[in-house]
Symmetry: C2
Subunit: 192 residues, 2 copies
DNA sequence: GTCTATACGTCGATAGAC
DNA sequence: GTCTATCGACGTATAGAC
């Protein structure tokens, strides 16, 4: 008798958990990005997610694990085609798009985890992809400089906001950065 | 009679304080640079300086004041001459020289003080100096990009260390960065 | 599944002994 | 001038009630 009505709502145990977990993760991402690792508190994340602090611990076990889950980046892609233009496309997206997930890493990798192994693996893959698109013999150094430059511009625009880079249009920035990438990515190629 | 011998050691009150204070400041700079603001503790700084935690408070009053003193940069200079070459000289120094003081700011400004007013003032002056060396009408944006690029490369070399930029020779980096600065600083000028 | 209560450590800062 | 002792607040993490 009572079992019939109890079985009706099938998405209440395994699925409500997913929903709550996703809400916590979103709140964690936003908080880590805004405050960095140390200043982010479990209580703050729980409050932002509308749940209790104990529940966050119940789901993720520790603050470290919560950060690791929040900082997991979806994918770093580099469009095919002319190397310089591909890099400019990647830069433009990071100038405009909501960079919440990226900012979690950018900010927290500097404050917290020099041992954030997961991030370093992703970064290495990203560097390889750039290096593969760069023809010269010192591809590794060129790729490293390109990555550093992109990181610097993104940090300035979204975190530091010290200069005109913070408010300028993406078009203007991309236009000024084109010769930069053409030079570093090997301007003598990439026309076919 | 007793006054004669008592006046002999003249550098014991006002000068030993300076020495201890300098030792604390050096320890604070190193610790802030290594750990960032939040993870740095008064106790840790005191221990590294070989003194007691209470003494650090006695001298500096608060952790915030200690950080402010430790993060005070000596000066940001931009050599005169061709804009691009001046920027390269500045970059080279930051690639090689002991960047302790700079790293305090670089790391901590990202983890702690979006309101670190003192640093923002210094950064504005630095941007003005770059902008003055850049002829184009969009000098502010160009100066911002140049500063962002330098910051990105310095962060990668000294803090992140994810790529070949960390280990490459300053010569190789400067050589690859020359066309970058020539492009952004207005390559059509600065030949005379 | 969600929340309350709390144990346990560490922090910045203060007061006062030597 | 330097250090010891301690306060009050807040952090993560745990145990267990509902």
């Amino acid at each position: 008798m009572s079992r019939v009505s109890a079985e009706k709502p099938r998405r209440t145990r395994a699925d409500q958990r997913r929903e709550t977990e996703a809400r916590i993760l979103a709140a964690a991402r936003a908080t880590f990005a805004e405050l960095g690792y140390e200043r982010t508190t479990i209580r703050g994340v729980a409050s932002a997610a509308g749940v209790n602090a104990g529940l966050v611990m119940h789901y993720f076990g520790s603050k470290e694990e919560l950060f690791s889950r929040a900082a997991r980046l979806p994918e770093d892609d580099l469009p095919a085609g002319h190397p310089a233009e591909a890099l400019l496309t990647s830069l433009r997206r990071r100038l405009d798009d909501e960079p919440v997930a990226s900012l979690v890493v950018l900010r927290s990798v500097l404050t917290h985890a020099e041992a954030s192994g997961e991030f370093r693996v992703a970064a290495a893959a990203w560097l390889d992809r750039i290096g593969a698109a760069v023809p010269a013999g010192d591809a590794a150094l060129r790729a490293g400089l390109i990555s550093s430059i992109i990181t610097g511009v993104v940090i300035e625009r979204h975190l530091l906001k010290l200069s005109a880079v913070a408010d300028a249009s993406a078009d203007d920035i991309v236009a000024l950065m084109r010769p930069v990438f053409e030079s570093l990515a090997g301007e003598g190629r990439g026309t076919g």
